[in-house]
Symmetry: C2
Subunit: 644 residues, 2 copies
């Protein structure tokens, strides 16, 4: 009964937090301590310039304390610990998100480009100054005319052999660099992505270091910078637009890890294919995506902490003559908050695995092509899913706090506004899902290619048979009649079998992938334009990547439960893992029925199982948000919400 | 093929706009003209006080031009035209939404309460001054402790027979009036909702007029007002908190249409049941809900206009060696924008019907109880669906404009922030859907009650049989085998039959309603606590109201297509109506399969049909947003977006 006191939770929030914090507990606690300083409270005023100054001051404070170079090699003042560096960044997402993004631009994008695209000469000359913020810089990739399709950027960097210089130029307004963080106010230098022209021949997009301002902050000749002005959020970040008018830099300004201009003016690259060269360079964006993914998950934690605590304090309506009922004892409220809570836990552990792989590939020997591609796929897919999750969860939490949630003091205003752009920067989510799908399809083709001709034929024949079986659906239907008539199958208890849940999610991802491959192959085999074929399958292809992410997140969560030892924390995670998997299956139950993988009876049982799981998670709700360890200072006037 | 020029649209935007504007074209154009004045441009600065002053100045401008009393009786300077008044309000939602809400508070909530809850004495004394904004006022209902459950408000108004006065008092901080618009800065008087105590007996919540400030704006003795401060959005509205310390007002301050205190101190009411009396008074909130519903639909139009025009200008990627492709020629982009576009048209015509009914009930003889209840149900349901639609659509449109959409100049910042509270004010959406469901269940019971005992028995027996049939699902499955084997059924062409679409949506609404009734009845018959039974069915009950709204919106849209005459405008509406209905069925296809109403094959055909319809609507997209007639001044830096 909703109005009686709920079963007390056996979960120890501190123990669960240790599980969640994992290997990076120390750095996370250090960030929590920073955010708990009174001086670190999220900016609450209305002046953009004041906010920007505050953000720069915070960044300097962290740099002065030596906290901003964790991911850089020890030789340049860093700790060579990519994983810890991302974990610290993620945790900063509890606080003012303008600081997060400012740090991401400076140390992740700008510094990361110098580190990964440059060579020792660049490292020696710049990395220390970047790590200490003595050299604030920009990552000037996006142009007004091209954001997602960066291969088509229009800015040029033309090699002038006479002066041994590169001439960086903005040929049209659509080629101006746009939305560039650190540009409007603080940046002294930029990594500029431009079409490299050597010997009159275009070599594709490369990165060039171009100074923007002198020591006193005056814009240098040939450079024009405009302030992007007020934004929807993140007003503490100084985004700007940059035009270059035949700006000359020495040949050495080319970040030349993947392509060099020799002193004699010839162009060489260890990677022959211009396409592959370009995508190798883009690989440096991966760390940004992994970081934003983790930040999105942590922003969702802040919103959930506020909303769950509110729902455990606020009472409204109730039985006649009885005490009013806590919001979290209403089923609709449980569904609104506890399902996103389960997904937040799921994404947290998936992010742990993603960060771990990033650490191996970028912190270790660099990994082989396959490991890099797998990392790229996972980063692209998880970033898209996690940032959409954050947007939806923060919105749901705001609404679940009613009028109190609408007051600016309660963090939802900033959380909504600041995280909004996560879904479109560091790669637009829809474009990222297509990138993930492309990689999955490539792997799939490679695997097929490893089959001998007979194997391939058998595979496609199997596909055709499967399709026929689906179309007529007779076989399944006959099977389902038996299924439906079997007693006791609709109580849904067997749905709590983890292996069965994972099998469903795996089957869906696999079936969608092979189906997309078949459609694309059939279209191209029929002589249609490949681009037209792709557009025609686009919704299928995007859904395919989404289904794959659902699967890998569920698998990661299942592994995390296995690792969690015994006791109440494991049991709580186990319930959340069921809730994650079953609410995902519930969301896709239209598809599962279409493909004969859920009978109508079992599909209804999934809905009931989600309701039941919500009720079972309910007693742990307070402990589950406490375990996130969001500093009180990051919760805004949470006391007011709770009282409100 | 996506890269060839699309079929030109035969739709005449001006003719379609006349269809959409309908009877209220004149007043809508007058509002468009107001919004097109340079002085009416949405406030773009960062000072809350400046924004508030600007909003008050706009409100005075409109009042001075005699545009703010349309809905009031002619005797008090109005035009007695409730419909036109709501249409004008809706259209103002194209502009700065702080002005919209400020006007809603003053003329809708405050003035509406005086008009509908007061009697001639109050009308004579106050309405003219309210209509001209000489008397700015507040609607002081919500308290910190009670928002949704207003029957449990704690503020008291105690009749003191000795002095023939009412004593208004805030007994605790949780009883302070909270989030009250017009309170922090401008309000001189408030309609205060309080527990009326007469002769020592509590008579339930009643409305009392209480002066707040004197002519010079000084707060009166016994009144304490605090500014709610910065909010997530709507910063041009001065929300505040109010405490009353034994504030005395004359007996006549009671708004006494539904309850009077006689000079001899006895309490009388034409409505005997305190519950019914209270809900009759709450009926005055209906106009607010209808108005917000229309405003939400129009806010979505602004976002769609910006995003569709952007998608018709912006190119990204494309076939090898071909021209880059317009965003709107990508299928994922079509789904993201054109499905919400179809829903916006659907909600627009549903709002037309809702406004028409409001006009009949409130502008005419008041209607009977049944008409009022039907209006209340429709207003509650549509308001919830339309405001959630606005939130989701604005978010989708922002993301579809990428980085350009994130700049503050492009209206998305304001649209997102300002409309956010629509989902929780004027009734929290989840609570409103429960209210709608309650009314639907009451009607259902009444209809059952009109059956003789045998009829009732037959009905429930039919229900049981239906349930059994569903559980075993054998009958449907056998039927579906025949269905699946029939050739040509999976092309989905027959899904374009409007009657079949409506029948599916009607069946769903009816089935969910009778199912909810059965579950509630069974629980109560089994002797369980009614509140516990309700909580247990809560997700079902809420979904039931939602399904009913889907049905009435589809029916309204179908009628609007019928009324649209012949020609390209009708054809465009017809396609949109199909897209609305089929995308709704697609969203719920899990349920339709669970209930044997869609075979797996036909369910897949629905998905394909939605894709095909998106492609068919695509050529009209520009004309369809032009027809909304959103003033250029309301589109922000749309030129920058289009270029961006």
């Amino acid at each position: 009964m909703p109005t009686t006191a709920p079963t007390p939770s056996a979960v120890d929030p501190a123990a669960l937090r240790r599980l969640l914090d994992g290997d990076h507990a120390e750095i996370r606690d250090a960030v929590r301590a920073f955010l708990s300083r009174p001086s670190s409270a999220p900016y609450a005023g209305h002046s953009i310039e004041e906010h920007r100054a505050q953000v720069l001051a915070w960044a300097r404070e962290l740099a002065d304390e030596g906290r901003t170079a964790l991911g850089y090699p020890a030789a340049y003042g860093g700790a060579g610990d990519v994983g810890a560096s991302v974990a610290a960044f993620e945790t900063l997402a509890f606080g003012d998100l303008s600081l997060l993004v400012k740090l991401g631009v400076q140390f992740g994008l700008f510094g990361g480009a110098v580190l990964h695209l440059g060579t020792e000469r660049h490292h020696e000359r710049y990395l220390r100054d970047i790590a200490t913020l003595r050299l604030p810089g920009c990552f000037a990739m996006t142009e007004t005319g091209h954001g997602s399709d960066v291969q088509a950027l229009q800015t040029t960097a033309t090699y002038d052999p006479e002066h041994d210089e590169l001439v960086v130029h903005t040929p049209a307004d659509s080629a101006r660099k746009d939305y560039i963080g650190n540009a409007a106010r603080d940046g002294r230098m930029a990594v500029v992505f431009a079409q490299l022209v050597v010997g009159g021949e275009s070599r594709g997009v490369h990165a060039v270091l171009v100074p923007l301002r002198d020591e006193r902050g005056e814009t240098l000749p040939g450079v024009r910078i405009e302030d992007c002005g007020a934004k929807l959020g993140l007003d503490g970040v100084d985004n700007g637009r940059i035009w270059f008018d035949h700006v000359r830099v020495p040949r050495e300004a080319l970040l030349d890890r993947y392509a060099r201009i020799e002193p004699d003016g010839t162009y060489t690259s260890p990677i022959e294919s211009p396409g592959r060269r370009f995508f190798t360079m883009l690989g440096t964006l991966i760390q940004g995506r992994v970081s934003i993914c983790g930040a999105a998950v942590n922003a969702a934690k802040v919103a959930l902490t506020i909303a769950v605590r509110h729902a455990l304090t606020r009472r409204q309506f109730g039985p006649r003559d009885g005490e009013e009922t806590l919001l979290l004892d209403y089923r609709t409220h449980q569904r609104r908050l506890l399902v996103p809570l389960a997904h937040t836990y799921a994404l947290h552990v998936a992010q742990d695995e993603l960060r771990g792989r990033l650490h191996e590939v970028f912190g270790g020997d660099g990994g082989d092509d396959r490991a890099r591609r797998e990392l790229e796929t996972l980063a692209a897919g998880l970033k898209a899913v996690a940032t959409w999750h954050a947007t939806a969860t923060i919105q749901e939490c705001r609404e679940a706090c009613g009028g109190a949630g609408y007051l600016r003091g309660n963090r939802f205003a900033a959380l909504k506004a600041d995280t909004d752009v996560f879904t479109t920067f560091e790669g637009d989510n829809t474009v990222l899902l297509q990138l993930a799908a492309k990689n999955l399809l490539t792997d799939f083709r490679d695997q097929l290619g490893e089959l001998d001709p007979l194997g391939t034929m058998t595979f496609f024949a199997g596909q055709v048979l499967e399709t026929l079986a689906e179309r007529t659906a007779v076989r399944e239907l006959l099977g389902r009649i038996a299924d439906e008539l079997r007693p006791g199958r609709d109580d849904g208890r067997d749905l709590l079998d983890r292996a069965a849940q994972l099998e469903l999610l795996r089957w869906r991802a696999g079936h969608m992938l092979s189906g997309a491959a078949r459609r694309l192959k059939a279209g191209i085999d029929a002589g249609r334009d490949p681009f037209a074929v792709l557009v025609d399958c686009q919704d299928h292809v995007v859904a395919c990547a989404r289904a794959w992410v659902d699967r890998v997140v569920a698998e990661a969560f299942a592994r995390a439960v296995e690792r969690a030892g015994d006791g109440p924390q494991r049991e709580a995670l186990d319930r959340l893992c069921h809730l994650y998997a079953l609410s995902t299956i519930e969301r896709e139950r239209g598809w599962f029925q279409e493909h004969g993988r859920l009978s109508s009876t079992r599909s209804k049982a999934v809905v009931k199982a989600v309701n039941r799981l919500c009720a079972e998670v309910r007693p742990d709700a307070g402990a589950l948000v406490d375990a996130f360890g969001v500093p009180a200072a990051s919760l805004g006037d949470a006391a007011a919400v709770a009282a409100g």
